[in-house]
């Protein structure tokens, strides 16, 4: 079984993100790392943790809600997050993220995500049992 991971993929004006893992939760954690990857390539220290919760009618909308919850915390706290832990029960997500305040000299933030979108949105289990979670981020 492939190890968990993430990547970005091309979109006309913005950027697509994809995370995968052995479980749905792991795919969501990896997608969150890909979201951070849109903004910065720098190492991020786990100085502070933030907890969020979200709900949705299906797992795809839940991915959008999760990513938008991270975008919101990044914006209002002016933080970047480099580690994530997710648990999902009956389409209810509890997430913890660890990170540090944005330092422009250290993180050299590129495009700030404006929102996760429903475009190219896909959460699915592959034939080999791994989960993948992906969508386009508006930057």
């Amino acid at each position: 079984m492939p190890t968990p991971g993430w990547e970005d993929f091309p979109h006309g004006a913005d950027v697509g993100i994809r995370g995968w893992g052995r479980t749905l939760e792991q795919a969501f954690e990896q997608a969150a790392l890909a979201l951070t990857g849109v903004l910065t390539d720098a190492d991020i220290e786990s100085q502070t943790s933030v907890e969020v919760e979200c709900d949705a009618p299906d797992v795809e909308v839940l991915l959008v809600e999760w990513l938008n919850a991270i975008i919101y915390e990044m914006a209002v706290r002016s933080m970047v997050f480099g580690a994530f832990k997710v648990t999902i029960n009956d389409l209810h997500l509890r997430g913890t993220m660890w990170g540090e305040p944005v330092d422009q000299a250290k993180h050299m933030p590129a495009s700030e995500p404006k929102g996760a979108t429903y475009t190219a949105l896909r959460v699915a289990q592959r034939p080999d049992g791994t989960w993948s979670a992906e969508c386009i981020i508006d930057v």
Partner: protein
């Protein structure tokens, strides 16, 4: 896209005939080269918008169109509330009222040269850009609501702008019908420290010089001469607009389903204009328009402050301020009678022609300035609205060059450091918190803005007045 998929109405108008669930045709304005290079997704998204209830006449698509969210970027669609017409959060965009303003400085390019580096550093210091930048303004809840109602007028009341600017801002600087109570606490929280910040992505502040005049009469009316220096600002409603877009998109998904609207794409989520959610979105979206107008007014004030330091005699006057992500109620003629329609412009600029009553006296004879942002290396254009644009596109024109290449591909093709160096060799100074951001916004990642504005002119959407070349670019 394959041109043979269209009915060619004239050299720059390409029609998608209504088939299936499409209620109206789609008309793309472009030359053959731009059509061939245009993303296939534009065709699909144009056809999808044409299926929405209450759409009037056609969906029009501008020459700089590319793949968007539900609506193509560059899409213009008008809806009739009396015919079950809808409002769509995706049709406005995440960055509500993102737009461009250009200010005249009265200086010449040769005035900038001796202080170009210091001026660049000063602008970069004074105008907060990128994530982690902090605005000097912190809003409390009362001030937030006043800003959401007052727009640029609110900024001017606080000393961040000049009253005479208002004539040169759409809606006279203040969008009517804004309802701060329709904006969530989370959206307001996201804006608390973001007033007067530029943001990131394709947003910028540029110092530019007029490099070519195409229409002397219009240029005179606009106050533009060869080599004149102007300041152009491209940004929008920041976190507040993004949060409103995010929240209403989600809410409209279930509303559309409940209203029996078949959505070919979830991103097209919409609500009937005459519905509780539709009205609530209008109130929130209009508040976000005011946020964007206030934001650009404040950044304009910062630019004035910096220029005042280097050039105490210089007076920065506003040429115009346009928004290109909006939905506005406007009277347009359909079947002979004039009717109020809800005109969505997603990545498209309103372009009123000569003699339009909403234009200030000084501009009325030549038409509305239409400000087209190019990429940092290639320059920008000032166009003027034409008499024909009303009939062609509900008085709309293009908004920028439009991307030709994804950020992903741009990162593989270019190095940010090299771009900064190459542009410096051409006399263009770039400042950005991120070299990677510069690579993503590489000049080569954009369409040829010259071809886009030529097509807009040939299609009768707007005519060229002047070309601007960049001298300084502050990039988020």
């Amino acid at each position: 896209m394959d041109p043979s998929r269209f009915t060619r109405l004239d050299p720059t108008a390409w029609q998608i005939e209504p088939t299936g669930a499409m209620r109206v045709p789609g008309i793309i304005y472009a030359d053959e080269g731009l059509i061939r290079d245009m993303d296939e997704k534009v065709y699909e998204q144009t056809a999808n918008v044409a299926t929405l209830p209450g759409i009037v006449k056609a969906i029009y698509v501008m020459p700089d169109a590319h793949w968007g969210y539900g609506f193509p970027i560059g899409g213009v669609a008008a809806f009739d509330a009396d015919e079950g017409g809808v409002i769509s959060a995706g049709g406005v965009g995440f960055d509500v009222s993102c737009g461009v303003r250009t200010m005249l400085t009265g200086l010449g390019a040769s005035d900038i040269t001796p202080v170009q580096k210091e001026l660049t550093d000063s602008l970069y210091q004074q105008v907060p850009v990128g994530l982690g930048s902090k605005g000097a303004i912190v809003l409390d809840p009362l001030e937030t609501d006043a800003m959401l109602k007052g727009g640029a007028c609110w900024a001017i009341e606080h000393g961040w702008g000049e009253t005479r600017d208002l004539d040169r801002i759409e809606e006279h600087g203040q969008m009517a019908g804004a309802e701060p109570s329709c904006v969530s606490d989370r959206a307001k929280e996201r804006q608390r420290r973001e007033m007067g910040t530029l943001g990131s992505g394709n947003h910028y502040l540029e110092v530019q010089a007029v490099s070519e005049i195409f229409d002397k009469k219009a240029a005179d009316a606009y106050g533009l001469k060869q080599d004149d220096v102007v300041v152009t600002i491209h940004c929008g409603s920041r976190g507040l607009g993004h949060q409103i877009g995010t929240e209403f998109l989600r809410e409209m998904l279930s509303v559309a389903e409940a209203a029996g609207i078949m959505l070919p794409d979830r991103e097209l989520a919409c609500a009937p204009i005459k519905s509780e959610v539709g009205q609530r979105y209008l109130g929130a979206m209009r508040a976000a328009v005011n946020c964007a107008l206030a934001n650009r007014e404040i950044i304009g004030h910062y630019a004035r402050r910096v220029f005042g330091h280097f050039f105490p005699e210089a007076e920065l006057t506003l040429l115009f301020d346009v928004s290109h992500n909006t939905c506005k109620v406007e009277a347009h003629k359909t079947d002979g009678a004039s009717k109020p329609l809800f005109v969505h412009r997603k990545g498209a600029t309103r372009a009123f022609g000569p003699n339009h009553p909403d234009l200030p006296e000084a501009l009325r004879k030549v038409g509305q300035p239409v400000l087209i942002g190019g990429s940092m290396g290639t320059g920008s254009y000032v166009l003027a609205g034409t008499a024909t644009s009303e009939k062609r596109s509900f008085a709309s024109a293009c908004h920028g060059a439009g991307r030709a290449m994804s950020r992903h591909a741009a990162l593989r093709a270019w190095s940010g450091r090299q771009i900064i160096k190459d542009l410096a060799d051409q006399g263009i100074l770039i400042r950005s918190p991120s070299v990677r951001g510069v690579a993503e916004e590489a000049p080569g990642a954009y369409k040829d803005v010259g071809a886009v504005v030529m097509a807009a002119e040939a299609a009768g959407l707007a005519r060229r007045v002047a070309r601007l070349r960049p001298l300084i670019c502050i990039k988020g």
